[in-house]
Symmetry: C2
Subunit: 244 residues, 2 copies
């Protein structure tokens, strides 16, 4: 038995997230079908996180035991032949037996893209949040520094989450602009359900004056979801890097 | 009567090119419907060029006479409400009565994008040519300098074109790489049918040794389409800028 790690990239527009569910096509299901086609049967696969419907991944990690002696490079090629255009396997590598795509994660970085122009971009449909009014990304970056450190992020977790421990450590938050595209990046040791999307909505709400500048530390302390901003749509969200 | 110039951007994947045709959806047809919805009837519109099925535009220019006194900014907003996500009106401006989106063009610049990596990019499907073998974009740029100047480009025109005068002036050819994406840019006073796609295919054929390095000047002189390279697919082609 070998334990292998696959790095995937996928356009989330066609999928109801990662995890297998009834009555909706997910990335996990499509990957399992490709694995069955290549290996004869699909091994039990572990994803690095649950992503929501419509969320994208520049790098999504999957670990699994395989019994075949197919080389890693052949497995990449064969899977890509059997996957649709919207999913690509970027690489495959051998990992220790104890390695687990989800539990071995040290940090993950998410990217949130905002097309910040009065006119929409046809090439960004479903791939960025379109926000017509001008946003000051450097002011957003300054407000976001309040997220850094170890906090109970209950105020930034969608209601209905069954996770008990809501303490996470955010290590970096950056914002930059390339023309009309704003790129927000957040790195943490873990994320609660909808956490990046609520953080993004909160920063936009501060920018447009619906929430007070400098209030983010108080909102975190309140642990009250109703104090934070809106949940930004999945369109702009990308899992960008997984660090083990 | 006012003469106005619209700048559009469109994702060509959904369209059979610009020009109206039977039994296929084109950008012109969709724009005319939006103009009818906004102005009551569609004015005769002139596009800056005919683009093929699947070709994209970062900037496509259209001129037309209008009799309404709607402001340019209101026209932009109203058209964008009436257009699908894949087409956006970027701007509208008043132009002289003699201005014609096609005949007034001084130069146009096309961009051709190549995703140059062994693994496809899910986000580039239909938006770039996927070429797995490594290409040297700087060598391609050097070979491409042979296109500069005024030449009869018959060797780089798809057979079946009814254009008589095949002399065009190419003023610039550049190649650059951003990670795995190669961007090729060509500026000329006009382009023949499939000219950019045949030029791209010829440069790739020189890179992979199917055509001899340094042979492009001879191929131009031959005026023989069969001497040039393959026609690269429309996926990677974008009309990028129109200079009046």
């Amino acid at each position: 038995m070998r334990n292998v790690l696959l790095r995937l990239r996928f356009d989330g527009r066609a999928y109801h997230g990662w995890q297998i569910q009834k009555n909706a096509v997910t990335v996990q299901e499509v990957l399992q079908k490709a694995l069955s086609a290549v290996l004869g049967s699909a091994p039990p696969i572990k994803g690095c996180s649950r992503t929501d419907a419509g969320v994208h991944a520049l790098e999504f990690c999957v670990s699994m035991p395989i019994y075949s002696n197919i080389s890693c490079s052949s497995l990449v090629r064969a899977l890509n032949v059997n996957l649709p255009e919207s999913i690509a396997v970027l690489s495959c590598s051998e990992v220790d037996e104890e390695f687990h795509a989800r539990y071995s994660v040290k940090y993950k970085r998410y990217l949130y893209r905002i097309w910040n122009s009065p006119v929409r971009d046809p090439f960004a449909a479903g791939l960025a949040l379109h926000w017509p009014a001008r946003l000051d990304e450097k002011a957003m970056e300054r407000e976001a520094q309040a997220f850094l450190g170890t906090h109970d992020f209950s105020a930034f977790c969608a209601s209905g989450s069954s996770v008990e421990d809501k303490v996470r450590t955010v290590t970096e938050y950056t914002a930059c602009r390339n023309g009309d595209m704003i790129e927000l990046r957040i790195t943490a040791d873990g994320f609660l359900y909808n956490m990046v999307r609520i953080i993004t909505g909160t920063l936009i709400d501060v920018e447009r004056g619906r929430l007070e500048s400098g209030s983010i530390a108080d909102i975190i302390d309140s642990r009250d979801r109703k104090r934070a901003g809106f949940t930004a749509p999945p369109d702009g969200l990308y899992l960008e890097e997984v660090i083990y």
